[in-house]
Each structure stands twice: as C-alpha cells, then as structure tokens.
Amino acid sequence: MNENTHSVDEPFFDALDCPLPDDVERRLRARLAEFRNKVTSGLPAPEPRRKRRIRLWLGAAASAAAILLAAMLVVAFRPQVSFAEMISAMKQLPWIHVTITDNDGAVREVWYSPAKDVSASRSDDWIEYFDHKLRVYHSYDVSERVVYRVPEYTPRRSSRYASMAESLRTLLQGGQLNADPLPRMPFLEWNRSKPELLKQSLTRVEEQGRQSLDYQLTIRYSQVPDPVRIRFLVDPETKLPRLCRVEGRFDGNEFTSEKRFDYPERGPADVFEIGAPKSARLIDRVPSDDIVRIQETLRAGRQRMDDYRAIVVSRTDDPDYMWWINERPMILYRKGDKTRVDVAGGKGVAPRFEKPADDADLEKWWRTNSEKFHYYPLYITDGSTSFNVESELKRDNETERLVVSSVKRSVSNQLPGENYPPYWSRSPEYVCRPPLGIPRQDFEAVLEMKPEGGPAGAILLRVRRTGRMPTAPNPDAGKLPPAPDLYRNWLDPARDYVVLRHEMLTGEAGKEVIQGSTVVEELNRSPGGTWYASRFRIKAVPPVAHDELFNVYIDFHVELPDSLFEPPSVGDELL
C-alpha cells in the first residue's frame, strides 16, 4: 500500500477503527486456540454453527467422536494403557492372545506376554513385533514385503487387552456385580471422556457345554447419542475374559466388534513366527553413532537450559504492517522442566502505542511497553504433563474479573527428554532444537558433513521418507495438506549442533517444494552455557506473502517462585 492510497483510505480506517476490548480479544484468541487444536488433531471438519452460544465444536466433536470411538472399539489394536497400570497378577500370564473380528468381517490377532513384556499383532496389511524390554520394534509391510527394524520410539505400553482382562478378573472376583464398575474399567475411557453406566447385569450361561459368567453393560459417552452395549463372557473360575462383544450405532450405522481371548503357554518369538517371511528385505532404521550423538547433544541442550523469563514478540516483514497496534507480547517462563506461557490481554482495554521511530531501540521499546499489558496463563507444563488454562471474564457491576473456567490436563506420549511444550516453536531453547523426527521406520536419516548451500560451517541432517508405517486410516486425510517427505536440518557443530535452519519439503527428489522453513538469525548463550535463539524468522513460502520475525528478550536472573508453575483451579481469579 503506497502513501497515496493510505491517505485515501485513512478516513474509512479511522471510522472503522475502535479499541479492541481485552475480553473480546481473549475470547477470539480462545476460538483460534480451539481451531489450532482441531487442526493439530486432524479431526474432521466441524458442522456449521447453527445456534448461538452452543458449545462451539460440539458438532465436530460428536462427529469425530463417533469415528474415533468406533475406531477404538472396533479397530482397537494399539496398546493404550500404561505399564504402570498393570497389576502384578497379570505378569504371571505367559501369553494373552486376542482374535478380533471387525464389523466388516476382517480378522486380526494380537498377542501380549506380561511375563516377557513382548507384544505382537497380525493383520492383512502389517505384522508387528515389539520387544519392550530390548526397546526394539520390527514390522513387516505385507504389500511391500519389507521388514523394518527400528528402536522403539514411543514409550512402552502394555496391552489394552491385558488391562481389560485384569480389570474383569478383579471386578468379578467375588462373583457379584459391583455397583460402580466403571472406575475399575479404565480401558473404557475414551478421548478423556468417562462413560456413564446405564445398566449392567451378571448371569451364568452355558455355551457349547462350557459355563461362563455373562457380564453385560450398557454405557453412554457424552459425545455420542446412542448407547454402547458391551458383553463379556468370563471364565467362572479364573475370571479371565473369553469374549468381548461391542455393539453400537454411530452416524446411523450399526456396528459390531468381537474379541475372543485365549491364554496360550507359548507365543511368537519374533516377527517371522507370525507370518513375516525370512526372505523379506530388512530395512534397518537404527541411527548411526554420529546421529545418536547429535540427538543426545540436542536433548541435553533442551534439558540444561537455564531458568528464564522471556518476552517474545513477533511481526511480519511487511513494511506496511502496523505491528505496534496489532501485536501483543507473549511471556514465556522456564524453571527446570516446568514451563509457563502467558499471553497479553484478559480484561480492560489494551494499551495503544504510537509507531516507534525508525531508529528506536525495539528491545527497550518492548521491554517498556510490554509492562503495560495484563497477562494471564494459557499453558503450564510440568515435565510431560501439560495444563491448558481456559478463562472467562466475569462482570459484577463495574468490576471485571478474569476467572479460570477450566484446566485441561494432558500427558505427552513421548520418550523422556523428547517432550516439547506448547509454543515450543517460539521458545528460545526449543526453536533451535526442533523435533528431528527420527528414529521412525518410514524416514531415513542421512548426515552430510560437507553439504552444499546452507549456513556457513553447517552440517546437514536430511531425514527423508523412504518407507511406510502402519497407521490408522484418517478419513480426513484428503482435506489436509500433504505431509512433508523431507526434513532438512542445518546443524552448527561448533555450537552444540543447534539447528540453524529447519526446512520441511514435499515431493520427490529434484522436484521438492519447501513447505516451511525456520531460520535462526541470532544465537546467544545462557549463563550456564546453553545456546538459545534470540532472533529467528519463519520464512514465507507460497502462499504466505511475508516472513514472520521473532525477537526474544530474555532475563535469566529473575525470581521464579514455584507457585508460578502451579496450575490454577477452576474459579481462581487470574486478573
């Protein structure tokens, strides 16, 4: 926009301009945060909002719920319950074997050995074998006739079916109904939603000359209108399940899933014993020593960063962009493995600033003006546990109070040291140590010590998709942008391998298109010697028109009381 048109449109701009109340900004940012979560989760597109003041994403949640619940109950396959939840009695079982018949008649098998801490599965497409003790994972791609070997890259999990078996065993130990059985059946929880018990019954039946306890439940999930009926047939002596049958109705379609349990003395010893041919080509994704050293150095940098309080500000590189009006600072805190993200706003009317002089010291400008905002917490993390704080503005006569309306707790499913807090891409120690995405069976990592292009002195870690991995079908996959096929990380070996440039690309070799690129423009060292980014840029790649520039103004010598990192409770007054 040139100066001439500026002057023409200025009166309209002024006529439409109006100070943005903080509570409005907070509400709209909350909608954006919800949207970001939806984009992140890959849920299907929501239904249009038809009625005012309805819970905003309920339609989408219910729709997604049906799909996900169906997936959980019908396709249930992936281990879900942490090993710590297993009760020691189950460890005595040599093997649990489950045969699953899906709604469409497809049959799959799952094995789990509590004693050996090994699990395996077999379907038409993939055969998998997890040795949780050795932390090695083998999988056989049936269509490609390839066996992958890769270090286990997600935390060890026990079997959902072991949990189910143990829950039933303890629940029915006395041979009588428990008035409140659902707390003992954590495997029925889904999408952080606890089901409601509508009815239950326990009888003794005889089928094919065999006595069983017939335990039936009808439950309802808040997001799904129709109830779900579950029937367990349980051995009256051992109280271990023989059958689990689930019936329900989602999106107008009936579905049924059946799981038959048996408890053999012996199970598979490796991926080849359950169908992978020994002649299959082996692709070994165990990283080289050099790459492991880089990963460990980056992990150490993330973990060793000093405690700090940082003002993070951003703007585009569009010279016409009025960032001094539009942008708000964000405050990031770190203390050990605890973090906190505060955003500006909350209540009242946000301060307005005049455009700073072209030669103004912007750090000084932001440090002064950032103090004029209210701040309230959006995220607090403690290790792998994250708390998303939602708040609402209460008006009593002439006074406004920002009050916590909900605190959502979630636990990251990552290996120790691989947790990334919310807004890690704006955090000074994380943005230069992004997730490298390895090891993973579908990505091949190659380290180039003398690459062409890139920052001076940098080495290049290329991570390219050259394989496949078993994933659940995503009904919305076609609506999402394509996943990157290649990640290029330009590492600085002189500065603890921090990533100076991180690029995501799609397409085949030679026809690659950059999908995203972050460039670290300035690095500094904390008092403890950890390198961190104090200025970085998210490069504009089509269709984005302008780069996004970030500055971090950091203070290490500030008092950070532990109370700063304690999640608030619902009803607490924030401002």
């Binding site: 940012r29 954006l32 597109a45 999908q515 995203g516």
Partner: protein
C-alpha cells in the same frame, strides 16, 4: 513430526491479530465477533486444502474473516429491521470503550449500512482495503479476480462510501475523503 501445527503456524498464526482486529472493526460486538470468528474458522477448516494451496492463503483467510463479519452484521441489521433484535437475555456489549460513544457508533453504523448496500464483491473488497489495508493484488487473489477488477471494486465502493459520508459528515472535516 506433526505437519498440521506447522501449517497453522505458517498460515494462520502470523495473521491472528489481523483476523481478530478485522472482525472487531466490522462487528464491534463481543458475541457477534465471537460468532463471526467461529464462522470464519469453520469456513477455513472446511476449505483447508484450498486455503493451504491458495496462492495467497493469508489474504484468503482474511477475506473469510471479512465475509463472516459482514454476514453477522447483515443478520444483525436484518433483525433490527424486522424488530427481532437481541432478546432480553442477550444484552448488547457493554464494554465501556470510547468507541461506543453515540457519535462513534452512529458513524460506524452509517458506514456499515453503506457497505451493506454494495454488491457482495464490492463490499468485501472495500472492507479488505479499508479494514485490513490489503493490497489490490491480495484482494484480487482472495476474490479470484484480476487486480484491475479488485481496484474497480474498491474504487466503486469507496465512491459509495464517499457519498454516504458526504451526506453524513457535514461538519466533520477530519473524516472527509482525501483523494
């Protein structure tokens, strides 16, 4: 490696502030602004692939915000026209801001009324120009037309506003159109 967050960071995050302020400048009512934002995000989400592959994705998203805000204000004006504006349980925004002084509200209302009388493309182009300061190229890209057409939409919209303002703004020299 989750790709979707980076798409959000790439396309939406840099313009969050512009989205919020665009909607607010048009709507100026807390609940309506929230509705408009929600509707805009629904549009974005439903057309996510189109957005992600659009030659100027951010302009397209900002256009969706303008459209959503425009639709909300149109509905509001229709309700007023039909006498079925907010119920007693749905109070108007009480934010004690200078912008809600009577004069300012009247001026804002007049401007919106004039915009509501425009054809849709003209209204959208004018709002993208006046509210967001978008370039003609960006407006054209978002509307799917040539830059010269976008320029014409804005010029015609501006002319209508000038007329509306000239009737209304006698005695308000600071808001006369400089051309």
């Amino acid at each position: 490696m989750n790709e979707s967050p980076s798409e959000y960071e790439r396309i939406i995050a840099p313009i969050e502030g512009q989205m919020i302020r665009s909607i607010w400048r048009i709507v100026r009512h807390a609940q309506d602004a929230e509705d408009a934002m929600q509707n805009a995000l629904l549009s974005v989400w439903k057309q996510w692939r189109r957005v992600a592959e659009h030659p100027n994705a951010q302009a397209l998203v900002l256009k969706m915000c303008v459209d959503a805000a425009y639709d909300v204000t149109r509905r509001r004006y229709r309700r007023r026209d039909s006498g079925s504006d907010r119920s007693a349980s749905e109070p108007v925004d009480q934010s004690p801001t200078p912008a809600q002084s009577a004069e300012d509200s009247e001026q804002h209302g007049k401007l919106l009324a004039a915009i509501h009388e425009m054809p849709r493309c003209q209204a959208t182009a004018t709002l993208m120009r006046a509210v967001q300061g978008q370039s003609y190229e960006a407006i054209a890209s978002a509307l799917g037309c040539a830059p010269v057409t976008a320029r014409k939409h804005v010029a015609r919209g501006r002319a209508r506003l000038q007329t509306a303002f000239s009737r209304y703004l006698d005695g308000h020299p600071s808001l006369r159109i400089k051309s």
